[in-house]
């Protein structure tokens, strides 16, 4: 489009001055890099992102482990046949096991031998004791179908009818306690995650306010040349989003490296006794694809949060000025 410019030598649009032929450096950012407390903010964001990634993955790890624990326990139930005066415990065990096998939803009923039942008492009574004279209860371990679980109330009634001295334990109290514990652990991790993000937001807000104060003259000049508040806020947003992304990338990258290393060490440690217990508790300490996805989302989220928060702070500041 032709534009008349009084300073043009020919008063013609697009004169023969070939500015495009000249090498022009890239446009400088309106908010200077050194006017923002960039390095310290990047370090704070990196640390916070690392901690937030840890908190998020601990929550995922505990939640996944809890599902596994509860699943394993829920797929089993036990029948305890107690010795009773005038009753043949061996016959009661056989009767009870047979009744269980006939019940829909019970896949397997394995009777623990006398020696196996006694072995269960070893942690409390120690080794080398002759327990044959003690009235040791006998155990029947039931493997349950996951889809077609038995009706435990009917099962109890049936058991009481055929073997009155047998007790069925469906582990529901243990499952509920495990569930409560896992929920508490996940809630704590989520709270820590939120607190970390809140602390990071406070740090970003503080840095933004400092940057606006430092760049007061730039803001004033931009206003005078007709810049709208939104334009100015976008300039700050761009600068802070870049800082946020850099910090989040460092922190998130550190978290990924941490989990990869932890997984590697856990695999090497698995052969030891402590490693087996840890594996029983938390699996193989692998965060899996969902964990890494969470970290990647966290990196993007932190950068976006940093940018939009700084934009909001600047807009609010300018609105107050207005």
């Amino acid at each position: 489009m032709a534009v008349m410019r009084f300073w043009s030598p020919t008063r013609q649009a697009d004169s023969d001055i070939d500015a495009d032929a000249e090498e022009f450096p890239a446009q400088s950012a309106l908010v200077p890099a050194d006017s923002v407390p960039g390095r310290s903010l990047v370090i704070v964001i990196a640390i916070m992102t690392f901690l937030a990634a840890l908190a998020a993955n601990v929550a995922i790890l505990v939640a996944d482990a809890s599902v596994d624990w509860r699943g394993d326990i829920a797929r089993e139930a036990t029948v305890q046949v107690r010795p009773a005066p005038g009753r043949d415990i061996e016959a009661d065990v056989v009767t009870a096991a047979e009744a269980m096998r006939q019940t829909p939803g019970v896949r397997e009923a394995r009777v623990y031998a006398q020696s196996e039942s006694e072995a269960l008492l070893t942690p409390w009574l120690g080794e080398g004791l002759d327990l044959s004279e003690l009235p040791t209860p006998r155990m029947i371990v039931l493997k349950l179908e996951t889809e077609n679980r038995p009706d435990f109330d009917r099962l109890r009634m049936e058991l009481e009818r055929v073997v009155p001295n047998a007790v069925l334990d469906d582990h529901h109290i243990f499952i509920e306690r495990l569930g409560d514990m896992a929920r508490a652990a996940v809630a704590t991790a989520a709270l820590v995650f939120i607190l970390i993000l809140a602390a990071m937001a406070v740090a970003v807000a503080s840095a933004t306010r400092a940057a606006v104060a430092t760049n007061r003259e730039i803001v004033e000049v931009l206003h005078i040349v007709g810049a709208a508040d939104d334009f100015i806020a976008r300039e700050f947003q761009r600068r802070f989003m870049a800082l946020g992304f850099r910090g989040a990338l460092i922190g998130g990258g550190g978290a990924i490296a941490f989990f990869v290393l932890a997984q590697f060490l856990a695999q090497r440690w698995r052969a030891t006794g402590g490693g087996e217990q840890m594996e029983a508790m938390f699996g193989d300490f692998s965060v899996g694809p969902s964990g890494f996805l969470v970290i990647l989302l966290l990196i993007g989220g932190v950068a976006t949060l940093t940018g939009y928060l700084s934009r909001y702070i600047v807009l609010r500041h300018l609105w107050r000025l207005g």
């Binding site: 001055i17 200077p32 005078i224 040349v225 810049a227 508040d229 334009f231």
Partner: protein
């Protein structure tokens, strides 16, 4: 295009710095705003660019009551006003080119669409060789011309210049005045705040607005 009706301005609880200011600026007009130091010339300029709200009275710019403008409308209105500050107000981290292009950049224009425009203007004000220099290495006169170029680049309807020749030698002062006269002939209303009588005598067709004791006296 600009009118003040009974405008008064008071800082804090003191007396009024400006009292009962009444004037109109017509399109394509040229005026000097003068008066002794501390008379309120810069304050009046700040009222015009809406950097200060008046304590009383009505200011109308481009047909709009400034008291009723939203932040967005204030920004839009300012785009029609070019301002040359006494202390230049160049951004030291931007090159001369980027400083001059600033009003076009805030309009959201792509850099490639105004490169020739800015380059031409820089040559016209004699800064063709300083395009990529930072303001910190410019002389006072060069800074002044860069500030003027920034005020002109968007071809404003109204140009305000606060002591534009305060930091330059008489030869450059004449050149800068010619630049403003050229701009005026191209259709822009110009207000130059100055106490430089020599400068005013060089363009006697201009109207003179004289601020004294907080009041404005107009000499056509």
């Amino acid at each position: 295009m600009l009118s003040f009706e009974n405008v008064g301005l008071r800082y804090g609880v003191g007396g009024e710095t400006l009292r009962d200011i009444n004037f109109q600026i017509a399109p394509r007009s040229f005026q000097f705003l003068t008066g002794p130091s501390g008379a309120g010339k810069t304050t009046l300029m700040r009222l015009i660019i809406m950097a200060l709200p008046p304590t009383r009275g009505l200011i109308n710019i481009f047909g709009k009551d400034t008291a009723a403008l939203s932040n967005e409308e204030v920004a839009e209105t300012r785009r029609g006003i070019g301002v040359v500050f006494q202390d230049f107000r160049l951004l030291d981290h931007l090159s001369v080119y980027d400083n001059v292009a600033l009003p076009l950049r805030v309009l959201g224009r792509e850099e490639s669409t105004y490169r020739a425009e800015v380059t031409e203007l820089l040559r016209w004000v004699g800064l063709g060789e300083r395009t990529h220099a930072l303001p910190t290495i410019l002389s006072g006169g060069e800074k002044q011309r860069a500030a003027i170029a920034r005020a002109l680049i968007s071809q404003p309807k109204l140009l305000l210049a606060d002591e534009p020749t305060g930091n330059v030698d008489p030869t450059l002062a004449r050149r800068i005045l010619r630049l403003f006269v050229e701009l005026h002939k191209a259709g822009t209303a110009v207000i130059i705040a100055t106490h430089d009588m020599t400068l005013m005598d060089q363009y006697e067709e201009a109207r003179r607005l004289v601020l004294a004791d907080g009041r404005l006296h107009i000499f056509e």
